[in-house]
């Protein structure tokens, strides 16, 4: 028998108590891994928000929500903005949300049926030759033609969650559309949406000649802030602008808040887990007082007893790491597949550092939780321990 096998066997002497300690730490690990996967996924999808070919400025009507639906601007505005100094290219787009349940009704993937309609699908009307302004540089398949009334292209995340590929059809506003292509921009909002010709969406939503936003690309040497200021000055109290950098900043602020919150939750979970481990190990040492006396009597050094108890504590927390990680990964995947409206937006990250972080945390909780009980055990006086009833 090896010393290691003794250390691994001992925590299973009191199965209930060890199981409870493992559950406690596992919850902490689940929180760390699940939050890590989700925030990591969000981070990945915002990193490529600022794309070279895409428009730097989004122009909307003053007072309307930046991602608002429906047309509040006249489509001729796109051409008018071209006259402003520093503007290289513009295009009007119409944003709409299709809340019709037909999105899920046509879904062949049984696991997602019944859930997909919750949030609706975001649909953008845009001219095919201006797709690069919204960040779509290449389409897997072909883009729709501007005059078609039954063609769409689909973002990669929504395509995956609805289990659609190029050539499939999708029912929107009660009409069948052929998916001529799919795209991936790296922006999680864009990738969770559908694009169709501007005129088609205008007709479907009774927004003839109306647009919701104008996307503006500035000339190579122009200053984005100056140009957006010029636009606002040219249309006082009518137009507001947001820059891609603003949006990225806002998202990053949101992410850093989520990150801070997840660290706080993780710390709390770790703290509770560590208290649980200390308690478990103190109880275990207390119960084994006589046995520890015997181990000293047969010549075990203090160091070996310390190592045994500390090792047992680490065995508990590493088991919790394994269980917690499995539950977190399976849980996150399950929630995202069962709910495509969420799954369409978040692609969980499997970056190794999330798991490394959980492992380090589990290990440290084992060491911190085990240190005091192990020290106490190692310092027991052999005669006192042997007299213990």
């Amino acid at each position: 028998m090896s010393f290691l096998s003794l250390v691994v066997k001992n925590p299973f002497r009191n199965k209930t108590r060890s199981a409870l300690a493992i559950v406690g730490i596992s919850i902490g690990i689940i929180v760390i891994v699940a939050l890590g996967m989700v925030t990591g996924g969000l981070e990945n999808s915002t990193q490529s928000t600022l794309k070279a070919g895409a428009a730097e400025i989004t122009v909307i009507q003053t007072g309307s929500n930046s991602f608002g639906s429906g047309g509040s601007l006249n489509e001729s505005l796109a051409a008018s903005l071209l006259s402003i100094n520093g503007v290289k290219d513009t295009t009007g787009i119409l944003r709409a949300t299709n809340t019709s349940t037909t999105v899920t009704a046509t879904t062949t993937n049984s696991s997602s049926s019944g859930f997909g309609a919750e949030g609706g699908v975001s649909i953008t009307g845009i001219e095919a030759n201006k797709l690069s302004l919204i960040g779509i540089d290449s389409v897997n398949g072909t883009a729709f033609t501007n005059t078609s009334t039954n063609q769409v292209i689909m973002g990669i995340t929504i395509a995956q969650s609805l289990n659609k590929t190029v050539g499939d059809t999708i029912n929107l506003y009660g009409k069948n559309f052929t998916i001529t292509g799919t795209y991936e921009t790296g922006n999680f909002i864009t990738d969770a949406g559908i694009m169709m010709p501007l005129s088609t969406l205008q007709n479907l939503t009774s927004n003839q000649n109306k647009i919701s936003d104008v996307l503006v690309k500035v000339t190579d040497n122009a200053n984005v802030t100056t140009v957006s200021q010029s636009i606002e000055n040219a249309y006082p109290n009518q137009l507001s602008t947001t820059t891609a950098a603003d949006q990225a900043n806002r998202i990053n602020q949101g992410l850093s808040f989520i990150n801070t919150a997840s660290w706080a939750i993780s710390l709390l979970a770790i703290f509770i887990g560590a208290v649980g481990v200390i308690n478990t190990m103190i109880m275990s040492v207390y119960e084994r007082t006589r046995e520890i006396g015997v181990l000293k009597a047969v010549g075990w050094r203090d160091r070996r007893i310390l190592g045994m108890i500390l090792g047992e504590s680490i065995v508990l927390t590493l088991l919790a790491f394994v269980i917690g990680t499995i539950v977190a990964v399976v849980g996150v995947e399950l929630i995202l597949t069962l709910s495509p409206s969420v799954g369409g937006i978040i692609k969980p990250s499997f970056a190794y550092d999330i798991f490394l972080r959980a492992f380090v945390v589990a290990f440290l909780v084992g060491v911190i939780g085990g240190l005091y009980p192990a020290y106490r055990a190692s310092r027991l006086s052999p005669t006192e321990a042997l007299r213990y009833e």
Binding site: M1, S2, F3, L6, K9, N10, F12, R13, R290, E291, G293, V294, L295, K296, A297, V298, G299, W300, R301, D302, R304, S381, P382, T383, L386
Partner: protein, 228 residues
């Protein structure tokens, strides 16, 4: 060991507890020859277990001299090494580890020696054979009778080739018939392995099996009766 041939030499040994209120050992003198089998008797609380604990270096005395197997226990810093190499304990309660098999329990003292796990197993098997438990090596101690458990404890005490076995009421929790088997086994192994055997007991018939009886009273050795 010194030229007197004594493996244990104790002079004026004192040990008190609770800030001097309890004098467990109060000027104890004792000499034990190498290979001898002595039994220590005396009323409860007279200091028998305390004496054994001092010989086994489980505790340090306050005053006096104690030399065991040539090592000055008042001075040495290597108490663990001494216990591991020179001493085998057998307690009234077997004190086996319940989740380990009989074979594994016997190997526990060998972790501090540089023995390969193959040799550890070999030595443990050898001793389990000597205490007639070779058919129970994979059992858990909870499945064994009191006498069988005590035999495992004896095998464990002998596994590191100690020079002294310290047995504190080894038959105290056994019926007299089982106790006799255990005693005969101890006596037998003591002569076969040539170990010194120091045994504390309450029962006169057990004490008489020894070559010499030492009576302890109020922390001192009273009289020494040779049974031979």
């Amino acid at each position: 060991m010194n030229n007197t041939g004594n493996i244990i030499e104790i002079k004026g040994l004192k040990k008190s507890y609770d800030n001097g209120k309890i004098k467990a050992l109060n000027g104890m003198d004792l000499e034990v020859k190498k290979g001898e089998f002595i039994s220590i008797m005396g009323p409860s609380g007279s200091g028998k277990s305390s004496l054994l604990n001092m010989i086994g270096a489980l505790d340090r005395a306050d005053e006096g001299t104690i030399t065991v197997a040539g090592i000055d226990l008042m001075k040495t810093k290597k108490l663990y090494e001494f216990r591991s190499k020179e001493i085998g304990f057998v307690f009234q309660m077997h004190n086996l580890i319940p989740n380990l098999s009989v074979l594994e329990n016997v190997q526990i003292p060998m972790f501090e020696t540089k023995t390969s796990s193959k040799d550890m197993k070999k030595r443990a098997l050898e001793l389990l054979k000597a205490v007639n438990l070779e058919d129970k090596i994979n059992q858990k101690p909870t499945k064994l009778s009191g006498g069988e458990r005590q035999r495992v404890a004896i095998a464990r005490a002998l596994v590191n080739h100690p020079s002294i076995i310290l047995a504190d009421e080894p038959t105290g929790s056994l019926d007299s018939k089982t106790g006799e088997v255990i005693l005969n086994l101890l006596k037998d192994l003591h002569s076969k392995e040539n170990v010194t055997l120091v045994m504390v007991t309450h029962e006169p018939y057990v004490g008489k099996m020894a070559e010499r009886i030492v009576t302890v009273l109020d922390g001192k050795c009273q009289n020494i009766i040779s049974t031979l």
